[in-house]
Structures are given as C-alpha cells and as structure tokens.
C-alpha cells in the first residue's frame, strides 16, 4: 500500500529558486571544504610541479630525521661502550681540573705529578669500600718483531689491573705478582698490536723487542672495540720491570718514581663519592697543599666521563641538526620560488577565477591550502624517507641509529612552518592581483 504524504510535510526550500531570477541565497563565505577541494584539484592538475615543489623540503626533512637518529644512535653506543669498561672505576690523574677559561690562560699552570708513593699511601689508607687499587705508568716505545716495527703505548701494570679494567684473555696469561717481584721481561699484547706484529702467527712464547729490550709474549687480550682508552693498541708489562729496565729517568721526578694514573675499583657505586673524598684528602695532605690551594690532581669517575662525552655528542647532534636545518631552509626558499612561478604561470587563471566571482579571500585561502597541503606532504614523505635512511644505516651495521619521536616532531613542524611561511608571500601576491590585469597577462 502506498503511503499518503502527510500535509504537515514542509514545503521544499528550493521552490523559490525555480521562479525565475529571484535573488539566490549566497553564503558570504564559501565553505572551507569547497575551497579545500579546489586547492586539491589544482594540485592534482599540476602533479609534476607539485612534486618538484616538495622535493627540497622532503630532502630537508629526511636529512633532519636521519641525522638526528644517527646522532642519537652514536651517543647511545658510546655510552654503552664506556659503561662496559667498568662503571665503578675512579681514575686519578695528575694536573688541575682543566675547565673554563682558567685552563686556557695557563699562566700559573705547572707540571704536576703523581708519585708511586701516592699509590702506596692510598693502598694503605683505603681499606674499605674498594676492591682493588693499581698504579699505571705509560710511555710509547718502538716495538719490533721480525720486519714489523712501529710505535706503541707500553703500559706498566700490576696483576690486579686485569680485574680493574675487566680485561679478558684471548690467549695465555696476564702479568702476575711474580712477574713484578722478579722483574721478568714479559709482555701481554692488546689484540690490535698482536695482529699487527704477528698477523696469523700465535704470539705466545715469541720474543719481541721494546725499545731494544727483549720481552717474551705471554698473553694476548680479547678485543675491546675501538673506544677512547681502548687497550687494543697497548702493550702491557710488569710495572716494576718497567721502572728498573725500560722507563729510565723519564719516570723519575725529584728522585721519586712517578705514575700516570692510579685506578681505584670501588665495590659499590654508592660509595664512589666517599672513596673519591678520601682520595682527595689523602693526596692533598701528601702533596702538602694548603686548604686555599687548588688540587694538583683530579679524580674522575665513569659518570664524569660520560657527562663529558655526552656534551660532545650533544654538540655534534646539534651541529648535524643545524646543517639539516639549513637544507630545510633552502627547501623552503624552493617552495617560495616555485609557488611564485606557479602564481605567475596561473595569473590568467586567477584573473578568471576573480571574473567568475571569486573574492580576494577565496583566492588567498585556496593558495594557502595549496601550500599547507604541500608542506604536510613534505613532512610525511620526508619523515618516511628519513626513517628509511636511518634504518638502512642500522641494518647495514654501519652506524647504529635511534629514531626518537622528538626528531620526527621537530622535523615535521619545522617543515610545516617553513612551507607556510614561504607560501604566504606568493599567496598574498596572487590574491591582490587586479582581475583585469590578470586576465590580460600573457
């Protein structure tokens, strides 16, 4: 059964329009969605130009994301390498804490020394909270085996050095207490040194010459990887052998044996500050420093080292980011350039749009939506590309990279702002074109 239309149904609103040329309703502002459609249609109608326009910014965004990720990755890998060296290690070195402009002016700087006696003093004084304390003396000498000959840092150490620095043996044994007592001529090689001297041969038992003195190789260390202070490039000998047979006068100052570093391995990370304070107190006394004097040595722990390195990598990351930022800026100028060309090329079109009733605001809105859409596209495509590059680096094992939300957001909004900023001028220029002049433009 057919439903009968109820009389209460309202009269269709459009009926008036059919009665000839009566005034048509015309909203003061065209709907935004209409303007969006016009802008997208214009972009689609000029695909090649659109692609060229976004290319610069896409590359900029990709660079920012990739560089920041790689910088982030480098920081992470350096941090983990340092921490693998033992995080409870205190390193005592001679010299004032060199920080700030005072270190540069240097007028009152004088060579200061740590003595073997300082080590002996600390060894006696530090009875709790530490597991080991060892002195280190290091100097570079020419090393020879067969026809191979090069200069290598030679480090005088004690048996406990292996524990303090968490060394692993690849072959043979480390320096022992006995070696030191009897001042034997034995050497332990870092992995790179062993490879450079012996290649495929087994070094154990071989005799090498250090500064003309014959040493027997008794051990080779596992590779630690190339980080700062890596043992891979070093040769280790008993420190007593060194003082008595190799180092000579250069290891003596004012008739006292000197050391380069004293390493203290603390049992618990919580006690680092306590131990560090004890060390400062003892050495201050033994160096006869007045309370007003600055320390002529410094005590560094792993977290200090980390902090220093983090500052370096952060600077590096900012530097890389800035370079990428410049490429974004150049990309932005590219957008302006192409939008200007596009506005000039479309002068007639803009004139025509005005002739058929487009207002200044509608033209302005259309062009701004066009640049906004382009910038948005730049951001998305650039981020995908940048993440791709970063991942490619990671997967290839070349450089590890860590992609952070921060770097992505930064690049994205930077692209958006640059795109819109550089799109404003061409849009205003187009909107202000006189319709008659625009229509006549050839």
């Amino acid at each position: 059964m057919k439903r009968i239309q109820t009389p209460s149904k309202p009269v269709r609103r459009g009926w008036k329009r059919r009665a000839g040329r009566a005034p048509r309703p015309r909203p003061r502002n065209m709907l935004f969605s209409e303007n969006l459609k016009i802008a997208l249609r214009a972009l689609r109608a000029n695909k090649m130009r659109s692609v060229l326009t976004i290319l610069g910014i896409v590359i900029g965004v990709a660079t920012v994301v990739a560089l920041l990720s790689i910088g982030e990755g480098a920081t992470a890998s350096i941090t983990s390498q340092i921490q693998s060296g033992g995080s409870n290690l205190l390193t005592i070195s001679p010299g004032r804490m060199q920080a700030g402009p005072a270190a540069l002016s240097g007028g009152s700087q004088q060579a200061s020394h740590l003595y073997y006696a300082d080590y002996q003093l600390l060894d006696r004084a530090l009875t709790t909270n530490i597991s080991d304390i060892v002195p280190v003396y290091q100097a570079s000498y020419t090393v020879k085996f067969g026809s191979e000959s090069f200069s290598a840092p030679t480090v005088g150490v004690m048996e406990a050095h292996k524990e303090v620095r968490s060394f692993e043996m690849a072959d043979g044994r480390f320096i022992t207490e006995g070696d030191n007592k009897s001042q034997t001529l034995v050497a332990v090689l870092g992995s790179s040194v062993a490879e450079d001297l012996f290649g495929e041969l087994s070094p154990i038992g071989k005799i090498i010459s250090i500064n003309g003195l014959k040493f027997q190789v008794v051990g080779v260390l596992e590779a630690k990887g190339s980080s700062i202070g890596s043992p891979d490039e070093n040769i280790f000998i008993p420190i007593e052998t060194g003082y008595n047979k190799l180092f000579g006068e250069s290891a003596v100052y004012n008739g006292r044996k000197t050391v380069n570093n004293i390493l203290v391995s603390v049992t618990d990370e919580k006690n680092m500050d306590t131990v560090s304070a004890t060390v400062e107190y003892m050495l201050r006394r033994s160096h006869e420093l007045k309370t007003s004097d600055e320390l002529d040595f410094n005590v560094m722990n792993q977290s200090d080292t980390l902090e220093t390195l983090n500052t370096v990598t952060q600077t590096l990351t900012i530097f890389l980011g800035a370079i990428a930022g410049i490429s974004l800026l150049v990309g932005g100028i590219g957008i302006m350039n192409i939008m200007l060309v596009s506005v000039t090329e479309r002068t007639k079109e803009i004139g025509l749009r005005k002739a058929v009733g487009a207002t200044k605001n509608q033209i302005l809105t259309q062009l701004l939506i066009e640049t906004f859409t382009l910038s948005l596209l730049c951001g998305v495509v650039g981020i995908l590309l940048g993440v791709g590059i970063a991942l490619a680096f990671s997967v290839s094992g070349l450089i590890s990279s860590v992609i952070t939300a921060n770097s992505i957001l930064l690049a994205f909004f930077f692209a958006l702002i640059i795109g819109i900023f550089f799109g404003l001028y061409p849009a205003f220029r187009a909107a202000n074109l006189h319709p008659m002049v625009a229509l006549r433009y050839e």
Partner: protein, 238 residues
Amino acid sequence: MIHVEELTKVYQMGESEVRALDGASFTIQNGEMVAIMGPSGSGKSTLMSIIGCLDVPSSGRYTLDDVSVENMDETRLADVRGRKIGFVFQQFNLLARTSALENVKLPLTYAGISGRQRDERAMKALERVGLGQRTHHAPNELSGGQQQRVAIARAIVNEPAILLADEPTGALDSKTGVEIMDLFQSLHRDTGQTVILVTHDSYVARHTERIIKLSDGRIISDEKNPNPIKAGAPRMEA
C-alpha cells in the same frame, strides 16, 4: 538594465595621464543585444571591464539593475560579478587539465551552490551550448569552437543578467566564428539574455541590434541596426 553616465577612467602612466574613457553615457535595457565597437586603444576594453565590474571608474555613475556599483569594494564587486555577469573571452580562458564540466561548475562553486545542484546546472548549460556529450573532456581535447562553447556554458551557468563577450570570435576561423555568433543570437532570442559584444570587427558587430562606436574614450555613434546579419545565413558580398 545598465545605465552609465559620464564615465571616465584615467590611468597614470608614469608622468602622463591617459584618459582611456572620457565621459561615456548610455543605457542598455534588459534583453538587448548590443555591440561595442572601436579600434584598439579606443577604450572599449576599459568600458567592458567597468561594465563587467572588474574595475571601477575614476568618475561618473554606473547603475546595474538599479544598484549603484561605481563605489563598491572588491569583495562586493566579486559578488556582483558572480551573480550578474557572464564573461566570454577571446582566448576562452578555461582551466587547463580540468574537464569541461568542472570548468562550467566553477562560478557555481564560488556562488556557494550545493554539489548536486552544481552538476545538474552545469550539465544543462553544456547541453544548451550543444556539448552534452563532451562533458569530461579537458580543454586540450576540444577544438577551438568547442572550447569557446564551454566558456559560454560557464558564462551562462549562473543565469546572469548580462553576457559580456570580448572578441569571442577573434581566435576562431570564420566558419567556427559564425557558429559561435549563431549561439549568441539563439541565446538572446530564446531566453531574452542581454548580450554585449565587444569587438573591433564591424562584420561581427552587425550581428547585433545596436552598435555603440567608441573612439578615444568617447562615444561617437550609438545607432540601431534594424537588420542584423543572421549568423549561418549566406554572407552577402558587398
């Protein structure tokens, strides 16, 4: 109805002033078909842009359907153009890489007409100019005459009071030009559309019922043409 009185338009060209229009007055009633004629530099293009609300006069009065438009700002002029004027240009001025239908819909979009109505009305306009079958072709897939038909469809889609054509046959061969003139005449005859042709060609001008001649910004004659040439009829050689 168009009523202009003592229209002048002065352009500043560096140091000197150029009087493109110098006191033009006339009235064009609804439903007339008029030609504005003159050599280049006579001020006819300036007059056309003022009548078409693309520009405002330096002085003088212009009322369009009893509304004074000489002092309107840009936004209101855009509104008047959108509702009352349909333009046809010598070079067609269609949007490239955009279908005929989309081109015709353009004025409706700016007039804020809803989507479905736009399609219907644009189709009707295209059928009216005889292009109902080629609505999805882009301008570069159409001949010159077809492109001008699309432009005419775009001009009439808003049912404007005035159809303003600037040398509409200037870029066409004579045979196609005759077809376009025939289309203007039939639009005028069938719907009582006011048609104003701006041209330098007296043969084109003689297709209309009234010829206003301009020279140096002044009207030098304004005469009825009792026997307009009928487009499509064999041309009489003088």
